[in-house]
Symmetry: C2
Subunit: 206 residues, 2 copies
DNA sequence: GCGATAATATGACCGTCATCATCTAAGCGT
DNA sequence: ACGCTTAGATGATGACGGTCATATTATCGC
């Protein structure tokens, strides 16, 4: 049965949302087209009215997830992001255990290596934005140092979440998150001009 | 046709080698049992004489790859690993482009999240060894600091290789490796007691 | 050497999945 | 309001892949 054009646009978005969650939770290959459609509240038949192929869905869903998922919640003063808070949130057990709603990069970057060009392009674009955001939030003075620190820190954050999720021992998993968090905080405070110390939250937490 | 017991043991190992390379190159799910057997020089039929299931193969291949693949080539004085050299080698374009023969963690850790328990256990064990090695190679004084730095650095190394491989832009990919490498070197030299500086290679490379 | 055993090969089975054809009913232009 | 258009539903198709049954042939214990 037909629906209004606005409704169809909404449905398209619902499919992308569902796919984005399912893919993050279980991976591109483990999720079938029918499953995505069912999760969005449809049957599998209408799929090819929205997408040219599953590969097309993968690329669009990845792009969608990266657009929707910000590195940090938009704070009141959006120009200055609190890097300590971003790190704590990203490397939390909560984020580790919430893959379906978490950072698409940590869930899907590794798999994207095996996906066709369009998906890789989407990831590349998203990654650029993430590095840009992290760079802006970095305390380093020179632009070059900001960029370097952003890449290093982002690699560590993504890597730690991936490892923490892959591991079978909860204690080790917690430890990976916690130690990486602490290690990044230490690095951050070493790079920080002394004048900025007062800005940091009082309890840097454990 | 039957083969000798020793031959069979060898064949088993050949299958694990082939599987290990194929899995690292294309992922667990993208490689079929028949493909692994063909790569090892057999047909698909004999597979279930060696393994109880594909899941079993995945776990054994992962364990095998992690045992065989050392973090660094065994240097003459094996007790003191050169962390700078390990980092340079790991974060090189050569390693990025050689997934099939490279570090299993960078290739398979993310996928292992979706694998059954046995595979996760294998990865966990391998990860423990890797962290142990990195910790021993760390310049930090306290054991606690060694462990923390090992986890942070290892997360950054694995994360950077994953991101560099996922990205569609060669320049960005190279940059991720290079900047993360530099960033880790900087961190390493900050943590280093001054007396050790003379040991570092003269050209820390670009 | 001979027969029981067992490692591979060949071929088949069954389920899943991406994709497509056809049907239906509701929106939209006139 | 009417009928053309089309979003979505139902069902089919063809390929692929994991697993198993059976056949074949070479090893190993006697």
């Amino acid at each position: 049965m037909r629906v209004s054009r606005a409704q169809m646009e909404e449905n398209h978005c619902a499919i992308l949302d569902a796919a984005s969650r399912l893919f993050r939770d279980r991976g591109f290959e483990a999720v079938s087209v029918s499953e995505v459609m069912k999760a969005a509240g449809f049957t599998h038949g209408g799929f090819y009215g929205h997408f040219r192929s599953k590969d097309d869905l993968v690329a669009q869903a990845l792009s969608h997830a990266l657009e929707v998922h910000p590195l940090a919640p938009q704070s009141p003063d959006s120009s200055s992001l609190d890097l300590d808070a971003i790190i704590d949130r990203y490397l939390s057990p909560r984020h580790r255990d919430n893959a379906a709603g978490g950072c698409p990069t940590a869930c899907l970057a590794a798999e994207t290596r095996h996906q066709p060009l369009a998906a890789k392009r989407a990831l590349t674009e998203g990654l650029r934005h993430q590095l840009e955001s992290l760079g802006q939030a970095s305390p380093e003075a020179e632009a070059e140092d900001k960029r370097r620190a952003a890449m290093g820190r982002w690699s560590a954050m993504v890597g730690a979440v991936i490892l923490a999720r892959a591991v079978d021992d909860p204690a080790l998993s917690d430890d990976i998150l916690e130690q990486t968090r602490e290690w990044l905080h230490q690095d951050l405070h070493q790079s920080l001009p002394q004048s900025l110390f007062q800005v940091l939250p009082s309890e840097t937490d454990t």
